[in-house]
Symmetry: C2
Subunit: 271 residues, 2 copies
């Protein structure tokens, strides 16, 4: 049996999968691992939607920005913040129905995310591969419709799952010292930043240039370094402002933005 530490260190995102199915037995096993993650007040305010059906995957494909794994991996898992289940129980028990607010969404989001990482690691221990898809959050309003989520249930993270059909190298990471701070946040100097991102600049640019579509985009634009790839091509201000509004709209529609007020802050959502 592999060392746990080595196992965690060997994670790579897998985007190409064999056609081989993932058995219900293994799926139940790895999801059970998910449920052992810490949970606020042990409420387990999350649900996991298992997608195998081809029709469902075709509907999800554009919402996940046409990532091929959505069609080709045998399983997609969508982890949702879920206070619907708990609220039915509260109502049944003559308890005040709370958890229809922003804080509750964030608590559900954290717990769903912790569970997902346990599932990911357990899956990898079974010889499976996974690839997280940030599009789960970006498109969460439309995904909610496809998965027929009721109020107080919102997709937050998700990944494809299946037996790997590619060998990939582990991605580069920033130096450890770049992400830890002792006692207080030590802000970065210009020199720090140059040093921290030096390796990433080389590795990241090489990676993006090896991807034909991205290479074309990079060559056709006025992009001259990796930082510009990030915010001129991959994550533009416009796209992020749209996702910000979309996610808030989803939170409102799913009943997580009720009654937000305090003495000095009022949020007004206007239609």
């Amino acid at each position: 049996m592999e060392n746990i530490y080595e196992h965690i260190l060997s994670h790579k995102s897998i985007r190409k999968y064999k056609e081989k199915e993932v058995s219900d037995e293994i799926l139940n096993k790895v999801i059970t691992a998910g449920t052992r993650a810490s949970s606020s007040g042990n409420m387990q305010p999350y649900s996991i939607i298992i997608t195998r059906d081809k029709k469902q995957r075709k509907k999800l494909f554009p919402l996940h920005f046409e990532q091929t794994m959505v069609l080709e991996a045998p399983v997609l898992l969508t982890f949702c913040a879920d206070f619907n289940r708990m609220r039915i129980w509260l109502k049944q028990s003559d308890a005040p129905e709370n958890f229809d607010n922003f804080m509750s969404f964030l608590i559900g989001m954290i717990d769903a995310t912790l569970a997902s990482q346990n599932v990911a690691l357990a899956a990898e221990a079974e010889g499976l591969g996974i690839c997280y898809m940030g599009t789960t959050l970006a498109s969460n309003g439309e995904i909610s419709k496809v998965l027929e989520l009721p109020e107080h249930v919102v997709p937050v993270v998700g990944f494809s799952l299946g037996y790997p059909d590619e060998e990939v190298a582990a991605r580069d990471r920033l130096p450890l010292e770049a992400i830890i701070h002792r006692e207080k946040y030590q802000n970065y100097t210009e020199e720090n930043i140059r040093e921290i991102y030096k390796k990433k600049e080389v590795d990241g640019m090489k990676r993006y240039l090896s991807h034909p579509d991205l290479r074309k985009l990079i060559e056709e634009s006025d992009v001259s370094n990796l930082a510009q790839v990030y915010t001129k091509i991959k994550y533009t201000k416009e796209s992020h402002l749209k996702y910000s509004a979309d996610v808030l709209e989803c939170l409102k529609n799913q009943g997580f933005l009720n009654n937000i007020k305090s003495e000095d802050t009022t949020i007004i959502l206007k239609q």
Copy 2:
């Protein structure tokens, strides 16, 4: 070496710690495990603040609602969504400075949370114990001040860390079938809910009654079941609305709520 699956299944939150220090070597090792978690676009938009100093812990103690681990565990880790580091690099590279919006905060929050779960599991593999503290999010504005976080850095999850000085049993969990849905969300019937929460009602109530302070609160109030403990004592609507406003206020102050608008949604933050 323990089986990875068994390792994940054996997680328990530890609230009592030995005085023994956690060495820098082990701390670096487990945090390195954190950095191997998946990260959106491999941006690693998070920072981890290590607190050992007693003075700092005294300041954090009330913000963590006087949980004893804050004073007694040798280490606290605070995982923050962090786009400050990346934005300095963008500016240095003449790239548009994005990531000062709500979507970016959520991306940082997810990545910080995934990293935290890797750190938790790696720590447990080293014989350490951890206990997540939801107060990291609830008090994130005040915690930001104590940790001197700059704009675009926000605490999201955190836990105490140290060598366990208690034996605890694994907590109850909902049945697996209660949290998974195949293809589409299957909403719960009244009967489902009674079945799902039957065991939790017994185990949960027993647990809270064994805790002297909670027992007193329960006995002095008109609480008659576990659901009521949750929303009349532990998580009231009032407290959650306050935290919702506090967290939004923190997001605004730390520069993550800029320019949110779309055709049909406008968020106005009023002072």
